[in-house]
Symmetry: C2
Subunit: 407 residues, 2 copies
């Protein structure tokens, strides 16, 4: 469900030592909000530093006793803050201020700047007590950052650890009782919420508490060709055509091989016949979810596009003009589908097992858009052909994709 | 959305000093889960004590140095635990063990008993650092408990505070890093989650984090009579009849008076014409929510019940036989409606302003059932007449109800 109350601008402020996953979290949150239809943007102070001061700063630049470095970094932090407020003033809804914000004094400064504009910021602190998580973070993301392009990896790790050590000397964990904050310890092992109220913040915490970094594939596919596909009708609850049954056999054979050895793969379908028939040969348990049912075409259900154009020419034209927001009379818009898929997205984030989603064109376009970070306006136009299996593997930065035609 | 993974039995264990709202939380959680279709039951050790040992125990009974009292209370705690496991064995899904569980040793005992049955318990600790909240809790709930029936209120408060003092002497807050627990501080001011994983626990925390005890009314009403009501057709998207327009005028006049002085009353409608027309004369902002649309009658939409019986006799009979679970072909069941109202319930819990919900018969039956704690099987049979405003005021124990006919 979309937030019910009219939204004031929000500022989320990341806090944490380097290599604690701040940027990963900031990007995930921005992507999720954007997908829900809320304008969100990350303001990453590191990018300002790299752009304005160059990416090759030695660890000594981050020494808190280095007055020049301190002043330069302060200036970059303020530039990002100014841009952030300008963006909010221009209609932005949720800004995410991504920097270490490692000392109380800096957080006071950000708080005062926000409060001066009538905004109560929410701090999101990422804490890692587990050295393995930090080491994995450094390996997975930091060695590929522009700061270390062309640098010997061992040398880069040493330099980056020296940079962290500089921050550690002055680090003050978030603990202000009168502020709003979320503390994420060891990727969700422990979570502390202080003064988190309201729909959007609660919703975000629910999202954050289900994030994890364990890699696992997500498979998306439409049902096999249906009797309606053959004659060009939309919606309905038809069964599979003979060609569709052929796809079902090939898909299930392929999945049996692909998922062999996984102890508990998840297979989700819609409640409609064509998806359930598609997975019928599978030996795994399958779960029909009403949230995965195809977009409801309302009064146009069961018609061909030619019939819709003839019977409801205004609707046909309106849909052509704005396919994202157009709502079929008595039916749904793409936006409605996105809203009802929110629970599926949270569940996809949470799962540590491979997940196979067998659903429908519009529904899969919405899920795919979230998983691969497509702009909203693209959603109704994403190619989602029949008899094609999409394998997505979410990674820290971006998502790997493979498409397999099993016709 | 319903939990996707097949549910193992769950045990939630309340922790906290007396008058910290443990029983309130336990009951709310049980009510919410029951409404979602999960079998949940509270096992309240205090009730076992009252039943087996009598309700009139002096504060000294709760003195940790009173060996007899300690043994008797231990016995009651074990009896409740045994009954709880028997209930889970018999198919119960979520058991809530409601007792102080104030010392680590007792929590270890409960943990071992659960783990011996393959269940990892989740502790829910309620902490109040704010003495006002404790004082209000004592006033609101403890003076009316059987322990103090007929006792002078001042005397009762003194005795109850002495009882609390006995527990305080030995109280050990939850802090075990290897266990699953939720700590709620000062009704959600701060929340700590430790090792909370999985769909149902995350969902519950989202619910818990939105609970509050501030009293505020919730108003439920159907739209005014529609053109379809007049001719006995279901569903559709008709406008109001002349009689329906009369109700709209009276309702809005009444709400203007009733809600005068409230700075931000919430008025939610469905997206259908008949509810939006009903609130059209209101001077407050109104919000149309698709989740509040009437149950989707699928292929039966727009028909009369006689037509349904004639055209789809099997469906007509199936619906008569099990109105709760019957799903209209291409439409929804009551269970589907409950699932999609979950977000509305969370939002209703969260709101601190009065909320007016103008919706439809089936949708309001589901909301009303949650708010007044009706058994699920009753849901499709709850009386929800046209032109009647229901005012509900949730209180700590139970909900006050008034019905007002504005015909």
């Amino acid at each position: 469900m979309k937030p019910l109350t009219s939204q004031k601008p929000r500022v989320l402020v990341m806090v944490g030592l380097p290599a604690r996953g701040k940027t990963f979290i900031a990007r995930k949150v921005a992507r999720y909000l954007t997908w829900l239809g809320i304008s969100a943007r990350v303001f990453n102070v590191g990018n300002y530093r790299r752009e304005h001061l160059g990416s090759r700063q030695p660890a000594a630049f981050f020494d808190p006793d280095n007055a020049d470095g301190l002043a330069a970094r302060h200036q970059m932090a303020m530039a990002a803050l100014d841009d952030m407020f300008a963006w909010l003033q221009g209609g932005g809804e949720v800004a995410i201020y991504d920097a270490t914000n490692a000392v109380k004094k800096r957080r006071d400064l950000v708080t005062d700047a926000c409060r001066g504009r009538g905004i109560e910021p929410i701090f999101i602190e990422s804490v890692c007590n587990d050295p393995d998580i930090v080491a994995r973070n450094i390996q997975a993301t930091k060695l590929t950052m522009p700061d270390y392009a062309g640098v010997d990896p061992d040398q880069a790790v040493r330099d980056f650890r020296a940079r962290i050590a500089h921050y550690e000397r002055s680090y003050e964990p978030v603990d202000e009782p009168d502020r709003s904050w979320v503390k994420l310890v060891d990727t969700g092992e422990r979570i502390v919420l202080n003064r988190i109220r309201g729909y959007l913040p609660s919703r975000l915490v629910f999202f954050l508490s289900n994030l994890h970094l364990d890699p696992r594939p997500i498979y998306l596919t439409r049902h096999g060709e249906s009797a309606f596909n053959v004659v060009g009708r939309i919606g309905g609850d038809p069964g599979l055509s003979p060609r569709g049954k052929g796809y079902s056999t090939k898909l299930c054979d392929w999945l049996h091989t692909e998922l062999a050895g996984h102890d508990d793969p998840q297979v989700w379908t819609s409640t409609l016949q064509r998806t359930r028939q598609t997975v019928a040969p599978l030996r795994f348990e399958t779960k029909p979810l009403k949230n995965l049912d195809e977009i409801d075409a309302g009064i146009c259900d069961g018609l061909t596009y030619d019939e819709i154009a003839a019977r409801w020419p205004d609707d046909y034209a309106a849909r052509k003009g704005d396919k994202l927001r157009y709502r079929y009379p008595r039916g749904e818009s793409y936006q409605d589908v996105i809203d009802r898929l929110d629970g599926v997205i949270i569940e996809l984030e949470r799962q540590r097992h491979p997940v196979v989603v067998v659903a429908h064109q519009a529904v899969l376009r919405c899920l795919y858009a979230y998983l691969t970070d497509q702009p909203r306006e693209r959603v109704p136009h994403i190619a989602m052909p029949l008899h094609t299996l999409i394998r997505l593997t979410p990674a820290t930065y971006g998502t790997e994709e493979q498409r397999l035609t099993l016709a």
